[in-house]
Every structure is written in C-alpha cells, then in structure tokens.
Assembly symmetry: C2
Homo-oligomer: 347 residues x 2
C-alpha cells in the first residue's frame, strides 16, 4: 500500500521546487546552521529544537542536497569502481563483495565498465576524478595501455587495484597468487596422468594474464608436461569455443586444456560436447575464477577458486587506510587461491 504522502507525490508528477535547508530553517524558526547541526548530529542541539527541526524536515520531505554538501566538505562518501566487464560473473561477484564491504564503511559505490577498452577506461577515470569520488577501485583493462590513466588517477586520489595491476607504478593492489594457482592446477593434472597440456588464455595484456601464462609454462616444465600450444584470444565463452575448434581441426588433442578463466573453459566444454569429445575421458579441462555457473556445466568444471570476498574486504581496508592517511606506503596482497576439483578432471 502507498502512504498518503507518497500518493500525493505520485499524483503531482515531477517535483515542484526542491526543498532546501533554508526552507526547513524557516519552518522550524531557526538558522540553517542549526538545521545542519540537528540533522547531521555534528554538534548537539537542544531537544526541543531537535524536535522542531526533525518535524519540519519530515513535513517538507527534505532530503538534502548531497552535491552542495559534497562541495563544502570536499567529500562525497562515494568510491568509484572500474571493471573491464560487468557481464563477467567473476567481476560482478567482485563488485557485489566490494559494495558490501563499502557499505560497512558508510560508502556508496559508483560502478563503471571499461569494456576492456583503455580509452574508455581513461574517460571513466577522468569522469570519476571530476566527480570527486573519495577513492577508486580498479581492475585495469590493460597492463601497459592503462598505465598512464591509472597512474594519473592514483596521483589525484587514493586508488587500489584489484585482481590485475598495471606495470611501472606502485599503488595498493589485492589479488590472487597466480603462480600458486597454476601450480595447483598443473600438479593436479599431473596427478591425473596428464603428459601434455595447452593453455587457452587472453592476449597477454595485463598482469594476471601474464602471470598465469608464466605460471603455466614454468610449472608445466617443472612437472615434465609438454606444452604443444598456447592460444590467446579474450576472456569469453566464444573464444573458448573458437580455440577448441582450432585444437580439433589441428588433429590430436592434448591430455589437458587449461583455461585462464571459467568463461573460456565453459566454451571449451560446450564445443567438446558438440564434437563428441568426452570430458574428462578424452581430455581434462580446467577453468579459473570459480564462477557460479562452473558448477552447472556439463560436466561440472574443475577450477581455481578466487576468494573475492577477501579481495574485496582487503581492498576496502586499504582504501579506507589511504583515505585516512594518503601518504601511506603502497601494499600488495597476493591471496592464496584454492583448487575446486569437479568432474571435468576426475572420474
């Protein structure tokens, strides 16, 4: 049901003049300073005045002007977040965790997608800085092409990178230990008897992608696993499909296909199924991220679990610290990943 007040609004259509602190002050018979203090609680006001003001504000439906407030306080209580894609479940999960963590700190989240385009990303960053967000959480689109814009933004306000980071600058970063993750994957595959493996990843354009390729190569070498090929495309289901098509066309499959993220792996699984290649009998497949859908694929996917809640909490902690003391020393936190073994590599 709707309250009478709401009904009035609904009928009125779009607003009359917006109600300001001045109006509340006049109605309550006090100064704007007192209204401000009464509503924000910054300084104590006498009970009767508080009552007056609260009532007046409620009567007028006063909701304040955050813009004016932000201008004066030079604080927006908002942090901006820039991710390469909001369609990728890993990032949406991360966004959700970050939003949750921010809420506890009384901060709002302003979300932007860079669509993996450094130019668009730079524009988003400029826009966030112009909007005076208090800080920025970013997962950069590109390891080098994003560097200028990220470094510039980091010079304007507190900034923490998550998951990936750009080269050539120092700022806070929180992510996962990619080398350790690939070690887990390859040791598991070796244990399942794999003697050869290809890696399907994205064109090497950012830190985590590079570290995953590097980790794959070194641990494969260490374990005596042959690496017939490394295929680079982008982080998408479609690329997983295409890469699999190429492998099938090329002739005999490796013992394992290691994917740099779950979307790619889901594409791989789908194309294998279509081609009559049985996973894990004919080939082992692994992913990375542990998105919710990786448990639902056919077969369910063995993957590296990213502790995004921890990443988010830690990122917000670092950001809050930087808000308090902007001169602190940048920290880099590589969290420990874990392996989730499912049917795509067992049975």
């Amino acid at each position: 049901m709707m309250s009478p007040a709401a009904q009035r609004w609904a009928r009125t259509g779009v607003a009359v003049a917006r109600v300001t602190i001045r109006d509340v002050a006049d109605l309550a018979g006090v100064s704007t300073a007192t209204v401000s203090r009464a509503l924000s609680g910054a300084k104590p006001v006498s009970p009767p005045v508080l009552e007056q003001v609260t009532r007046a504000a409620a009567d007028l439906g006063y909701s304040g002007n955050g813009i004016a407030s932000a201008l004066r306080r030079s604080r927006t209580d908002t942090v901006g977040m820039v991710v390469p894609s909001i369609a990728n479940p890993f990032f949406t999960a991360l966004v959700e965790s970050v939003e949750h963590a921010l809420q506890a700190a009384g901060l709002q989240l302003f979300l932007c997608s860079s669509r993996s385009d450094p130019a668009l990303e730079a524009q988003r960053l400029r826009s966030l800085v112009a909007r005076q967000v208090d800080g920025i959480v970013i997962s950069p689109a590109h390891g080098t092409a994003s560097a200028d814009a990220v470094a510039w933004a980091a010079g304007q306000l507190p900034l923490v990178q998550v998951d990936r980071y750009v080269g050539g600058m120092s700022s806070d970063w929180v992510g996962v230990d990619d080398d350790a993750a690939l070690r887990l994957v390859l040791e598991h595959l070796a244990g399942r008897g794999a003697r050869s493996a290809v890696f399907v990843s994205s064109t090497m354009t950012n830190s985590s992608t590079e570290l995953r390729v590097a980790g794959f190569t070194t641990h494969a070498a260490r374990l005596g696993i042959a690496v017939p090929d490394v295929l680079l495309g982008d982080y998408s289901i479609d690329w997983g499909r295409e890469a699999t098509g190429r492998l099938l066309a090329a002739g005999d499959l490796p013992d394992a296909v290691v994917c740099a993220d779950d979307l790619i792996a889901l594409g791989v699984l789908q194309t294998c199924a279509e081609a009559g290649v049985v996973v894990p009998r004919d080939v082992l497949v692994t992913g990375f991220d542990d998105i919710p859908y990786s448990a639902l694929s056919n077969p369910p996917l063995t993957t590296v679990h990213q502790p995004q809640d921890q990443i988010a909490v830690e990122a917000v902690r670092l950001l809050s610290a930087a808000l308090e003391d902007p001169t602190g020393i940048p920290a880099r936190h590589a969290l420990t990943p874990s392996l989730v073994v499912r049917a795509s590599t067992s049975r």
Copy 2:
C-alpha cells in the same frame, strides 16, 4: 609506457592541492568566466585566448570539479539505476545495455543494488535523490513494499521502471509481455505432449512475477494442462534445487516444470541430473530470460528470450524525454518476447 607527466604523478603519491579554475585563470591571465567558457564552449572566445586557456589547463592537469559544476547547473549528467541483484545475469545484461544506451546520450550510470530488500532499496533511492542524479531507472524489488519509495522518488525526478513495476502509481515502464511469454511456453509444451505442469517461481511480490503466475495459470487452463502445484521461493539456483527436491520427494513428476527465471531452471536441471531424472525424456523444463548460461547447461535450456537491448534503449528514450519535458504522460511499453527452443524440451 607511461608518459613523463604520469610518472611524476605516480612518484608524487597522492595529490597536492587540487587545481581549480582559478589557477587556470591566473596562469592564462584571464578571468574564471573566460576559462569556463573556453573549456565548455558555452560561448565563443577568441582563438588566442582559447589557446592560452587550453594550454594552461593542460599544463596544470586541470580536470574540473564536477561537484561544483553540478551544484551550479543543478544537473549531474548522471542517472541512477537500482536493480534487485547484480549477481543475476539478466540484470547485469540489462545494466550493460542501459549503460550503453546512456553513453550515446552523454550520461553516466550510477549503479545500486537493492539486494531485493525494499528497505535497502528505499535507502538507495534517497541516496540517489540526494546526489541529484538527473533521473532513475529502477527494477523494483517488491510490488507493494517498494511502492512508497518509488512513488516518492518519481515525485522528485524523472523515473522509469524496467522489467517490473510497482502497483498503485503511474510512471514510465518498459518490460516484456509476461502473459504472451507464458502463452508461448505453454503452447510449446502442449505441442510436446505435456498434460501437466508445475510452475516454480518466486513468492509473488512483484508485477512480473504475478503476471507470470497468472499467465501460467490461464494458459494452462486454456490448453487443458493440469497444474498439480505452484512452488514459490526466490529467483536463485538454490531455490530451483530445493523445489526439485520437493517434487521428487512428493512422488511422481509432472510432464513439465516451468520456471519463472533461468536461475531457477538451472537449479532444477542440476538436481534432476543428480537424481538420475533425464531431461527432456522424463520431464520437460523451461526457463525465462535467456541468460548466456542457459545455452550451456546440461541439457541446454529452452527459455523465453527477453529483448534487453530494446528494453534499455526504450527506457533511456523515455528518460531523456522526461528530462526534456517532465510533464509528459507516463508510457507503458510491453515488448514482445520470443521462445528459444533448446534440448530441455526437445532433443
């Protein structure tokens, strides 16, 4: 690579005093008014002055103060969007489409999640209004509990509802024709020989949910399909699993399980697979939304495709219109859905 300027920033650490229009004016030897006009292009300035100002702004790394600008112009060029969940791929797809459509109009998106909680949703709406966004796009959490807050917000600024709408108020709305969608589903199932079907949905708390249940019931009746049960929970994979568990425990399965969204359907499919129930041989299953993962499940899911791009474009069009002329008459656009037939109801 990083430019020298960016490197300076990166080394400097967090900003010195922020550079204002005053600094630019002083360096360029003109007034702030001229700087404003030169940079915004609001009024023409002479070529030499323009040159001076542009150079000064660049030298200082001036990026403006969007807050101050917003206060003066009472326009933020930002629209807020509130969705029940950013983990649900349907909403993320919608968000992405809306962001895309807004970009064309030169607007930024401020995204909030209500976590399907009307109280949190009301808080988000207050916050958006306080932040003076130019307009709001919302998919309300609840059909009645959200009504007050949505109506209030609609009274403050242009607002368009998407996908779902709250009862008792008139505002712009864009969504899909739920009745037509359920007609498609049930006629398809009837064609596949189904004589009984249960509906697995969310507790009836918003327009589209209600319309889907209603559509299911009427079309089932019309087609002579028995309805042994309607199970209500929430829009999640887990609820799909639990509902299936109940159906299995209750004894014999209906010919078809119709789900109110794809997440539920994915949960249903998973539990069926675990229980050795073969889809579509033993039971037909359908979803709603056509999220990307519905094509990857085991078996791939027959579902109703929502034209979210169209929904987004239309929503932004309505919003822009309301921005121009806030007194316009609310419009409701029910777009036509289509059925995507996959293996969960065929072979």
